[in-house]
């Protein structure tokens, strides 16, 4: 084959030729060992199913209370959104905004972006909008912190455990489910394949 190398390792920049691989296989960088791309059957369908489940769980998590506390006949309930509002009420407004972004806005953006991306690939839609969303989803990814918030919930539950009576809210279960579906979706999804597929229906072709 005489074609010029057309992909580079995202970690070390080593150039490679793209070669199709069999389903279930993975291609690695010959220099640093980083994963270049994977071939997984039904990847897009699986991610779309997980994303739809994730969106339902997201709505449930935000509708119902997360935790409650009973002490001396009084009861206090807290929703997911309420966890950031406490900072807002104490004048730490930037911190409140940061938390809303971490646990509500960015995870929701990720779910919606994944839905648009998988729909675009399945239905061969023009991909400019999906490319825009997927790009920002990739850049924002480290700032979505659902699983870290969950660890925070567990720490808080143990801390309060012997001081007062805790009420585990309905949404704690959907919240756990949401984390599982989102983690599964991002571990199944192969970014290289997504970009390759999106490129096929991209109308505004770059100059070569």
């Amino acid at each position: 084959m005489n074609q010029s190398p057309n992909i580079a390792c995202p970690e070390c920049g080593q150039l490679h030729h793209y070669r199709p691989i069999a389903p279930g296989q993975t291609a690695f960088c010959t220099f640093c060992g980083e994963t270049l791309y994977r071939n997984r059957t039904h990847m897009i369908d699986a991610v779309m199913a997980l994303t739809l489940a994730g969106l339902i769980l997201f709505v449930m998590t935000n509708l119902f209370p997360l935790l409650g506390l009973r002490a001396q006949g009084q009861e206090q309930e807290m929703h997911l959104f309420g966890a950031s509002m406490t900072f807002w009420n104490q004048e730490y407004r930037i911190l409140a905004v940061l938390i809303v972004l971490n646990i509500i806005v960015f995870p929701l953006f990720e779910l919606l972006a994944l839905l648009v991306v998988t729909l675009t690939i399945r239905n061969h839609w023009e991909s400019s909008f999906a490319i825009f969303l997927y790009r920002w989803m990739r850049e924002i990814k480290p700032w979505g912190m659902l699983e870290i918030f969950m660890l925070g919930v567990l720490v808080a539950v143990v801390k309060l455990g012997d001081v007062a009576t805790l009420i585990i809210g309905t949404s704690l279960w959907s919240f756990a489910g949401l984390i599982v579906t989102m983690t599964a979706a991002s571990s199944i999804l192969d970014p290289f394949t997504v970009w390759r597929e999106l490129d096929k229906t991209h109308k505004v072709k770059p100059h070569e």
């Binding site: 970690e11 150039l15 291609a27 002490a71 206090q76 900072f87 490319i131 660890l151 290289f192 970009w195």
Partner: protein, 218 residues
Amino acid sequence: MSNASELHTAHDAGLVQCQVCGNLSKAPAHLSKYDVMSCPRCGARIKRREQNNSVEVTWALLIASTILYIPANMLPVMSVYMLGKGQPDTIISGVLHLLEAGQWPLALIVFVASVFVPLLKLFSIAFLLISIQRKSRWRPHDRMRLYKITEYVGRWSMVDIFVIAILTGLVQFGNLARIEANAGAFSFAGVVVLTMFAARMLDEHLIWDISRKEEPAA
């Protein structure tokens, strides 16, 4: 497996790679220091080695977070009011209280996330920056691994902020018992955010670039 090319890297071949989508495009012949090049596929800004200011920006962010690290540990992060009497807690005193109460697994989680990880980040980013500036060729694979670990674990420091948010949200029983957040939490969140940006700004390709120069051409 795909074939390695005779040409070493995208950079050697006169190509630039988008760090967001991996797209390769031709490097323009002329680009002044302030010209911005964006990826033809996804529109993300492409960093080019010739005009790379990643080391300077990372240093600036690192120094800012080191300075913020001091109030983050000196100031109380939250106060517990029981029957009108308040007790402010710093991160360290919070860990010590947990130990006194015998909740050592919890103490360990909070210690690792809030004390160990931020320090690890500050030191490892400084170490990587110095090694890049001194054009070190020492164990590039291990330094790369250190970079990846640093980038991955940094976010987990936010757990303490979330714990404070949950505690202040739940424990609001007026004079009987209530928990308030304090300024230390604000500085601590600042340290986490700034070190996350610092790790992102550090162009890890610089670790490889210098090591590759010494390899015999194939």
